[in-house]
Symmetry: C2
Subunit: 796 residues, 2 copies
């Protein structure tokens, strides 16, 4: 049996017991009120059908548990002067959190029209899940939330992200037993292997077993309790059980929960004190709580003769026929009156003194804690000048560089200069993506056993690596939402693993733009390397450039996509992204040696424009016959090689090269803030000439971005068309018709007048492709022109 079962039920002073019980009742009352009541908020007249909302929406089941924990944490915050935030994993319990923030005054401070009196309560009830009102979940609108919770699975990773580099912060993280079944949550428990008790704050996970999901029991509530405790110990925690039955004496539960909370917080104090006073940090066994309460506790026990409390039927709205069924209406009134609202609110409808005293004051209120509105605490990054890290470019394409390796040197300086506010996140790919210069100034965070041969592991490391994109993303989101900065580097294909997490973060950014008290936070920056065109070790499973497509479906105001063609443009781009606010920036850049096209200064100017004509490669004198456009490092290389072939074989053809760094420049200015005007676009792409566009990803995205453009019908796009395997880089571009020879063939096919005249050249290109494929299949190498070719030299 667990050691905690022997804990004496510490005396909870009568006044404190009264406060938690009263606060809990009040929050439960307000929760039910939000779900049901249009009017008559304090039941000062008998409840009538017209007081009831016509559509009953919301989730009751999880709410009493959320309220219970909130009330108890409030007590410990007051008693211990804790700096704490509350992460509601069961984010569908929105009305519970709204209730608490209103009771402690923050809601009215943020939304002055929702006063803390009868009139405000009426509005509070009415607005919930109501058109023009507030969402049903713990949305960004709720003070104190960093966690929408509409999509389950990320609460614990967010909690860990929030406390990194916040040594005094406690994140109480409520994890629903439904959420606990998700993969991301299951992986999150071991986040404690990267938490340094000396430098970081603490997470207190509360696994809330209310036993049911929408229609099913939860797994963790139905495995043997000893297995559950064993599981938590296996994850490295010391679990403490608190168990409440429907008919339990509330005072007993309060005493038990209070004593367990005190025990856990004492334990955390001991852990932190030990870590902060000893010379060596080891992995402690952190406390956690398993709280077992009936789903929908204190709600209707039975409805129409069927058990509701303690079952899945309590999940949303336990009484559904309130407007039409007098028995339901009466039962609702009995339920509401069971909280004795007349004892909770004074004549004006304001909370009574016991409730006021139950909450902490000022920024100690979890709903007013500035860590939960990270923009308030945001300190800008100190960004070292990136230009000295650039690679000299005596002539375009004359030298090669590994773009991400060079970037790593600048990132090393960023990490050095921001050792309190910047971290790098990656699924075991920081070194693979060649950013390992950062290890000259920091290590990988690791608080489990470290062995002699390990490479740059240390408890105070600032590079966060684990083989889980979900954890990297969740930690980074928690870190950003609490006012810090970071960069997530991943293989391009597998960033799709977090598509849905990205969705939710993008929605958070979009929504918070319209919430004045939410301050802008640092952007979520992705560096996708090991991209589709260079999966030499892996192959088809590792080839997918579609994250860009996924990202551009979100609101234009919050998303940015960059495809720097070389090392210097990568440096400039990343500098821009790290300084930006409240965006999602996606940067795709290769790690393999590739030509440097622009000097650092030229790169900077090109990146500021985001798109532009590369004069060094063009011979159009303002009147091109064909525009060769490119976006992405490999497509740029192939385009320039194609242009070299054209210059050699069709010297009279006027070619313009347009390179795109900032993909959203292609879109109309009315659709994206970075969009070019029609005039600007037409000036680059002409209004009627052939455009051959070599693009990094799925080709149709270019059509989507440009379909309103005058010259759209003449834009022909090459990109990844889902053809791949383990092969050479040049074979990859050939498989997808993106190679230089095919681009020349496209020019001949598409520029009016060339098809017949240049049939012989077309055949030569066709033959060159065939030879290249045969050569590759024979020798397994790049065709020699790829690795050795120098612009504007002559390809084979």
């Amino acid at each position: 049996m667990t050691s905690t079962e022997t804990i004496a039920q510490a005396a909870l002073a009568p006044d404190e017991l009264a406060r938690v019980e009263t606060l809990w009742r009040a929050a439960n009352y307000l929760t039910v009120g939000q779900i049901y009541l249009l009017d008559n908020p304090l039941l000062r007249e008998p409840l009538r059908p017209e007081h009831i909302k016509p559509r009953l929406l919301g989730h009751w089941g999880t709410s009493p548990g959320l309220n219970l924990l909130y009330a108890h944490l409030n007590r410990t915050i007051r008693v211990r002067d804790l700096n704490a935030i509350y992460i509601a994993g069961p984010g569908h319990g929105g009305p519970a959190l709204v209730a608490n923030t209103w009771l402690e005054g923050t809601y009215t401070e943020r939304y002055p029209s929702i006063t803390r009196d009868l009139g405000g309560m009426r509005k509070l009830f009415r607005q919930f899940s109501f058109p023009g009102g507030i969402p049903s979940h713990v949305a960004p609108e709720v003070p104190g939330s960093i966690h929408e919770g509409g999509e389950l699975g990320y609460s614990l990773a967010h909690a860990y992200g929030a406390v990194y580099d916040n040594p005094d912060l406690l994140a109480l993280c409520v994890i629903g037993d439904g959420e606990a079944e998700t993969g991301p949550l299951a992986a999150s428990w071991l986040s404690n292997t990267l938490l340094n008790p000396a430098r970081d704050g603490a997470v207190l996970p509360v696994l809330h077993l209310n036993g049911y999901k929408i229609a099913n029991p939860t797994l963790l509530a139905r495995i043997p309790e000893q297995d559950l405790l064993s599981l938590m110990r296996g994850y490295g925690y010391e679990p403490h059980l608190v168990h409440a039955d429907p008919d339990d004496d509330h005072a007993r539960v309060h005493r038990r929960l209070a004593s367990v909370l005190d025990l856990c917080l004492d334990h955390i104090n001991v852990i932190q004190h030990h870590a902060r006073t000893s010379s060596r940090v080891t992995r402690p066994r952190w406390p956690m709580i398993v709280l077992r309460t009936p789903k929908g506790w204190t709600g209707p026990s039975k409805v129409d003769g069927v058990q509701v409390e303690g079952t899945y039927r309590a999940h949303q709205v336990p009484l559904s026929g309130v407007r039409t069924n007098p028995a339901h209406l009466a039962q609702l009134e009995t339920w509401l009156r069971s909280y004795r609202p007349e004892e909770l609110f004074d004549g004006d409808g304001a909370p009574v003194e016991t409730i006021i005293l139950a909450a902490p004051a000022g920024e100690r209120r979890m709903s007013a804690n500035p860590h939960a509105n990270g923009g308030e605490l945001l300190k800008p990054l100190s960004l070292p000048d990136y230009r000295p890290f650039g690679v000299d470019c005596p002539a375009p394409g004359s030298v090669n560089a590994e773009s991400t390796r060079v970037l790593g040197r600048w990132l090393r300086e960023v990490m050095r200069a921001n050792a309190d506010r910047f971290r790098l996140f990656g699924p075991d790919e920081v070194a693979s993506n060649r950013l390992d210069a950062v290890f000259e100034v920091t290590d990988r965070a690791f608080v489990a056993d470290i062995e002699p041969g390990d490479d740059h592991l240390a408890p105070d490391g600032r590079v966060m690596e684990v083989l889980s994109e979900h954890l990297c993303q969740g930690w980074l989101e928690g870190y950003l939402l609490t006012g810090r900065h970071g960069l997530f580097t991943s293989y391009e294909a597998f960033i799709h693993i977090v598509d849905s997490m990205f969705n939710q973060h993008a929605k958070w950014l979009k929504t918070t733009r319209d919430i004045p008290w939410r301050r802008p936070i640092a952007s979520l920056n992705y560096l996708l390397s090991s991209h589709v065109w260079r999966q030499d070790h892996n192959g088809f499973s590792h080839q997918d450039p579609g994250f860009i497509d996924h990202v551009v479906n979100k609101k234009a105001e919050v998303i940015r996509v960059y495809l720097p063609p070389d090392v210097n443009t990568l440096l400039s781009t990343m500098n821009h992204c790290l300084a930006s606010r409240h965006y999602v920036n996606v940067v795709v850049a290769g790690k393999q040696p590739q030509p440097v096209w622009l000097s650092p200064a030229e790169a900077d100017a090109h990146c500021r424009r985001g798109i532009g004509i590369w004069e060094f490669a063009s011979n159009d004198d303002g009147e091109p016959d064909v525009v060769m456009a490119c976006a992405g490092d490999v497509p740029t290389l192939e385009t320039l090689a194609a242009v070299a072939l054209l210059r050699e074989h069709l010297p009279e053809l006027k070619v313009r090269v347009v390179n795109v760094v900032d993909l959203m420049r292609l879109q109309d200015e009315k659709e994206h803030p970075h969009g070019l005007s029609s005039r600007e676009f037409d000036a680059l792409f002409t209004t009627g000439k052939t455009v051959i566009f070599a693009y990094h990803g799925y080709p149709w995205l270019i059509h989507r971005l440009t379909y309103r453009r005058t010259n759209h019908d003449n834009i022909h796009v090459r990109g990844y068309k889902e053809e791949g395997t383990t092969t050479t880089p040049f074979d990859m571009v050939m498989l997808n018709d993106l190679d230089r020879f095919h681009l020349v063939m496209d020019v001949i096919d598409r520029v009016p007048g060339l098809a017949v005249k240049e049939a012989a050249l077309r055949q030569r290109m066709f033959d060159a492709r065939q030879r290249a494929r045969e050569y590759t299949r024979e020798f397994g190498e790049d065709a020699p022109e790829i690795s050795e070719w120098v612009w504007p030299g002559e390809p084979a």
Copy 2:
């Protein structure tokens, strides 16, 4: 300490010991050969640089462990006549699996040119990770694989899916300690709560701790061993440890592993016998193995003075400079010769008898087990006639139906008729998506504690519910890949959680189309309900129709998207999907009451065409002024309401209504097998008239699909533009300008000549929207015309 540490090291008969050791050595030799050798496969002459591949690609580190387990499982298969498949979680160990399949003859049976002799071995080596050859991972090309493994996290879910309804099948599932850090894998352990030992087969998980990932140690290798064992017990397993040090005596390890394997298989026998002979099925404690071996075991211990074996440096290619560095070349030769190839292969290069005898025969070979080529075992579904389940439609729009609820009745009959080969998967949403009629013939699978109030839970249930889209998808994939059928129903927004899993499955389907011996499997069918337009309880976080966009990025040959506008078209569509082969079918359909537009027979005809003019709503006589196109149930409702307004207020306007069920009909026939020809498309959409297209998802997808069409420039699309919150359905369409009034305004704005003439009508529509929004905000209900409106009645 674990009980297994007291197991006697059972005597492994000398001949069996020789077989496993010899097979292991041979497989390791062939693994190294594949990574390095172009020629001289059996070292019959001294190794020279020209025998080495110019590009060294592949992953050595995990391979010796995979080979060890393969050899041992082969022994138990022979001794026990097991029906077993091998799931290689560390799928990057491709050469290991290829080696074993070649040794046991299957490879040559599947690929006759790769003979089991010296010439074949040379080709085998050369083709690996070579242009025109085979991928580096355990790809679909590898006999015996159902698991590509390029993306980590899904092996254990696949293993469970494979053994459902296969009572005699054993899936040995190797889980790398890297993969074990992922969320999906972490969640998969508890799959044992839905495995019925009486009806289903067994999974034997082997957690292979080789200690390192690409650059980092693994978490599970660095937490205390007691925690790891506690974790496995918490998940409900009985863990058995096998530990090998670099210098370990191989015989000791073989004896230990053999005895542990025997113990586990005995244990599984006992569990299955007990479950199959007793009247009540309970959740057993299944055995599992923790195998701790050095990464890259038997490979080079040190390279250039640096430790490689047993560290992350063994992950890919331990000796990288073999072509240019004579010391590396010599070390490679020593390494290869350490396996004593002259003892492993005869003069012709064929495996010696010991190796032949080490493998099982015929279909008992894991690489030839038909369960791993599921199409071989596929029995068609018995599909009951769906038409009797259709809803009568006296006149279009005259009755309402909950489409998914009606579908549920037909699915009930599908489940009844296919109780050995069809399952329904969902993240606790089968009832929420109103398919609960299926519970009349089956239950939810649940093998943990069942309590009296639970709703349709039973160990022999065939509905698979857990709050993890990853598990639903992984189980279903495993079930399909082994030759069965299924349907995954999910909320539309959260299906993005499995974007990346879908990617890998779609790539598997695409690749296997070109592998003749891979037989087609049943399609992966998604039913996305609770879609973007009806998230009444939830709001913005639950609103995302972008899975369709994600899906259409994959190869046209394997993906299909359907948007049935009503209940009868949904029935017809789902019948088609369940009968289909080797596709991913995405079906989006609402669960709320919605108008029935077509009779069952009309629906059937419409679905066969996939797209068509709805004559009952059109008055164009072949010469429309405007085409009102729609795809999706809510957009269809709004379009028909808009057309009713047009008919009333602009009776002279010739309106054509085109409804799209099969979205890929919009694409060109050259781009998708379902695509319309230009002639067909133009016949529907005209070549110059205004098209107002109301679409279920992000509007730009319609542009992407139609950008090559003649009339593309006149197509104006309304859809979801990422505006949403918790509000009424009609407010949702208004927020996104998809409502009937706005569609009429679009017609007035876009059809030449109407803008000026019908300015008053436009203003009336504008005012009607304003009123509807005000009404909604006042009463929180749909505007009354939405819920009560009947085509062709007159909206307010």
